[in-house]
Assembly symmetry: C2
Amino acid sequence: MTSFTEENYLKIIYKLSAETDSEISTNAVAELTQTKAASVTDMLRKLSEKQLVIYQKYQGVRLTKKGETVALKVIRKHRLWEVFLVDKLGFNWDEVHEIAEELEHINSDKLVQQLDEFLGFPQFDPHGDPIPDKHGRMPESAYKNLSEILINQEVVMMGVAQHSTNFLQYLAKIGLHLGVNIYIVEINDFDKSLTIKIEGSTQCFISYEVAKNLLVKSISMDED
Amino acid sequence: MTSFTEENYLKIIYKLSAETDSEISTNAVAELTQTKAASVTDMLRKLSEKQLVIYQKYQGVRLTKKGETVALKVIRKHRLWEVFLVDKLGFNWDEVHEIAEELEHINSDKLVQQLDEFLGFPQFDPHGDPIPDKHGRMPESAYKNLSEILINQEVVMMGVAQHSTNFLQYLAKIGLHLGVNIYIVEINDFDKSLTIKIEGSTQCFISYEVAKNLLVKSISMDED
DNA sequence: ATATTTTTTTAGATTTGTCTAAAATTGATT
DNA sequence: AATCAATTTTAGACAAATCTAAAAAAATAT
């Protein structure tokens, strides 16, 4: 059995692994778990004994198959609960992360199964993140970062790569909601910042930092 | 803030208080928390420092107003989640207790509020227990124990006073479901055991122990 | 009213997950 | 290659919640 805390470590290591190909550093984990490096070292040793991660001191860490399975289950639960909160209980997408952080640790295979069915087997959570199926398989997400899109090419806003309440509320303020059509009016060569046009709203200016965190799909491949 | 564990103690003290008028003993709490008396003593001291209970050593314990409020919130959440699991996710009433024991500790006023609304502000959980409203008020439950009912008086099965999976599965086996009509055919003076007739089924024999844990209402006050 | 039994509390230890401060290792710089 | 800086680990401590065994108090019985 894996504890609440162990599950959080595994989830965080999984997320960090998705970004880099090499081992994850102790400090990187410490930052996301909001703990100190010394605590992480202790936990990594423990997870290693349980065969959930490959860890050698000073060499960083990566998940074993077994650890990845646990992480994917937690992520699956997190994202399903987010769908529940938004679709069924009427929460805004920027309010659900913290609650889902608690719900994701409830243990019952039947609960997850029934919830999935109740929600209509959703493939993506309210932020556009893919939901692993019960075998841990992720649906193909054909989304791109807005920062990779050409000028004047119309795209649909499909998700975000960052979930902080701050960021999501900023998007709401400038009128960037899921499903809205947008296109790039101008790219500033100097700092890669963008002027974009949001359908049914005025133009607005966003930094490269923000653009990198926006997931969109082209209008052409609209059916899904 | 109250921890998961503290909330469990408060909930259990609340339930024991509903049955007796006097102070609750350390041993009684230990039995329901599945811990040893020594652990209970420690926790009672801690809860007392937090002003959640009145406790003097060797004198037993009772909840303060503040402690009662916390307990009622936990019970409210537990029962609302049980309704969700049965009504929305299709669980049987004998499968939901353990899952609700975990869900009841999720902390978010908005979550509880929205869940309540989503479920249509239910007054009773799937076992027939009353659900406290958001101010901690219990709906009037006009149910009686089957053990108080007269021979031949037709009543409707409305709930149970005990939730162990064992007990609920036993009821299912003998055909005692929520909402079914029953009446007492015969009372055995010797041990107060009963022969009852279940509508659409054969007669069956139940012990006084079982009868005490069955909640029923008279047919006459049938509307609501 | 004294002795015995039961209940409750204390004392000291354990587990989980965390911390700080110091030591060890790695890696970067000259 | 030697030094310095950054990262990581060790050592020892702490808080929460639990335990066992022994002591203290209360309840019961003789």
